[in-house]
Symmetry: C2
Subunit: 366 residues, 2 copies
DNA sequence: CTGTTAGCGCCTTCAC
DNA sequence: GTGAAGGCGCTAACAG
């Protein structure tokens, strides 16, 4: 039966010092790269270290410096291409500054998020990038109070005095949907992964925003600007579940007076929407126009090529890391929202609304 | 000018002990959850801790226990869906055991890999999952020698006495290509991201394997079994570069005696291949059959749906983590290769070879 | 059950 | 330029 073996004793500075025949402090100085030592002793210490296979103990070093050279990153799911890219952005900037990234997935579960943040506080990460799942930020405030800077990624939070890095969600959504209304679409559905509960909570919590809320607001503004009544709004929340998004679109498209266009607010919703449209044998863009939020590596592989609102996801992550690095360096600038610009990429999945939408039906299973 | 501010002093156990009017050790016991304390004192300590906002210092704890409850994961690029899924697999299993995952991207650069591994050793991670970029494993041996268990993911390494988790690459590739030869294809191209240099090195280093080598071997076996001469082998190495993969396929397909089928060994190669085929206006699968290694979320969204060899990527990562956990628990089982089964998913991108392949040309730019 | 006392490995005064 | 001694925050023997 394997017993929880404690790791073997490692070579330490005293070991090296003894082996080199110098004092502990001297060995520490050359191995730590501070203070000074004569070329001769340096040589001997280095030789002894190499011989014994000495390796710095970063834990002990952290204990003194109070810095772990580590950034905590809390996202919903690294498997999601959006977060994967964002993490890469954070990681690249961090690595350049000699920091490493510790990852935590929350699956949009606020409890997991709190647990992850607490764990990061205990581990004394030097900074925290968080994609908050809910609208509560007490745990983030606590992190900040304990001296750990926090930057919100992709989502801002109402009231919190926190740095955040987001895109111009409202404008981008508005522009995208306006492109649809200007082509005669009046029945435009929005498929979004965020749950209405989160949405309401974000709204209720006050002044500020949560990404999906912003995108929905942009959608509504575009409809209003086109003189489309509020009763014609079609919004489905499908909770980061591709199958549910598919089901929602299936339902929408096979009903009377079906939408002639779909706007999706994230890549999971986009995937599910396209599943449904494929299964319905819908001819894009003639039967239905589609615009997705966030570009994807496969967007130009499907037919027609998908029109999207593209976000600079890597940059978002990179900027979050930079802000953190600045704060770690002692910056006390007032926390604020940093908004990056998204780009509308007009490809081939939008077209004028059909005069009389062709009815769509699920073909009977073979 | 912001000065590298050391983090503020945090509340420590002595602080809590004083505030609760108990001895340091007592406070430590209840806060650390070991030893025993009377309900009354426990109460008071907890209250004091809450009041002062005490938070365990995991760094100090690690210093004593010698364990950081951390797994280092070294991959080529988290942005790549394959690695993202693998990381998620590792992370889930690790999280369940109370460990967190530290990430490092190498971009297939052996130097970056060595640096990352060394950094992980210095940080005293409890275990290491590595997708080795080269065939050299001295740095991994060093990690093991220093008491850190290592598991190779996705790629095995010749000669190294290391645990590894891989799929049945050779058989899977052989079966996939055999599916092509059985349908009359004789001109079958392989597009692979791995560079020939790596390949040769892996081969040279001895007995064992490296994933791409295995897949190529499977390809060759299938050709041989079908009586196709070695001179008909078509292999392009495109170095994890989608654009280069596209260019390679473009070149191949516009030449005389073009391939009628393409087998790609990873998702980057698949993406580039499909780019090229789309640009050539090739009609899949009639003009060209395609089989990709590794399934993708968009594989059923393109027309025709992509036939693939699907790997249990999450499981691969999860198993790697489990092996590590076992070793951390003291297991001394002989390191070995763990092979998981891949699945051939026959969708719509393969068809019999055309009798007379239609010439493919890049349409002139509009 | 509780308090006192040593360290974990390193950095940092401070004398020499 | 070099060595000795103290402490970072916690756990682990010990006594009491």
């Amino acid at each position: 039966m394997p017993q929880p073996a404690r790791p073997p004793r490692r070579v330490t500075i005293p070991d090296v010092a003894r082996h080199a025949g110098v004092g502990q402090a001297t060995a520490a100085r050359v191995l730590g790269g501070y203070g000074s030592a004569s070329a001769a002793t340096r040589e001997r210490v280095l030789a002894a270290a190499a011989e014994l296979g000495y390796s710095t103990n970063a834990v002990a070093r952290s204990m003194i410096s109070g810095r772990t050279h580590t950034l905590g990153v809390v996202v919903a799911d690294v498997e999601n291409a959006y977060f994967a890219r964002a993490v890469r952005g954070v990681s690249d900037v961090a690595a350049r500054a000699g920091l490493q990234v510790v990852l935590a997935n929350t699956d949009e579960d606020a409890r997991k998020e709190r647990a992850a943040v607490q764990m990061f506080v205990e581990r004394r990460v030097d900074g925290l990038v968080v994609t908050p799942a809910g609208s509560d930020h007490a745990h983030l405030d606590k992190a900040i109070a304990s001296g750990i800077p926090v930057v919100l990624l992709d989502r801002a939070l109402g009231g919190a005095g926190l740095d955040s890095v987001v895109v111009d969600n409202r404008d981008a959504a508005q522009a995208a949907v306006a492109g649809l209304t200007s082509r005669g679409h009046t029945r435009i559905a929005v498929i979004t992964s965020a749950s209405p509960a989160d949405d309401a909570a974000a709204l209720a919590s006050g002044a500020d925003i949560w990404t999906t809320t912003e995108r929905l607001t942009g959608y509504r503004q575009a409809l209003r600007a086109a003189g489309i009544p509020r009763t014609a709004e079609i919004v489905r929340h499908t909770g980061y579940d591709r199958a549910r998004a598919r089901a929602a679109v299936l339902g929408l498209m096979t009903a009377d007076d079906r939408p002639t266009a779909v706007f999706t607010t994230d890549n999971v919703a986009t995937l599910g929407t396209l599943d449904a449209l494929r299964d319905l044998d819908a001819h894009l863009p003639d039967d239905v126009s589609v615009i997705g939020f966030d570009d994807a590596e496969w967007a130009t592989l499907i037919r027609p090529r998908l029109t999207v609102v593209s976000q600079p996801v890597q940059d978002l992550g990179g900027l979050a890391a930079e802000i953190l690095l600045r704060r770690i360096d002692g910056s006390t600038a007032r926390p604020r929202r940093h908004t990056l610009r998204s780009t509308y990429i007009d490809r081939e999945s939008t077209a004028p609304a059909p005069a009389t939408p062709r009815p769509l039906r699920l073909p009977p299973p073979a």
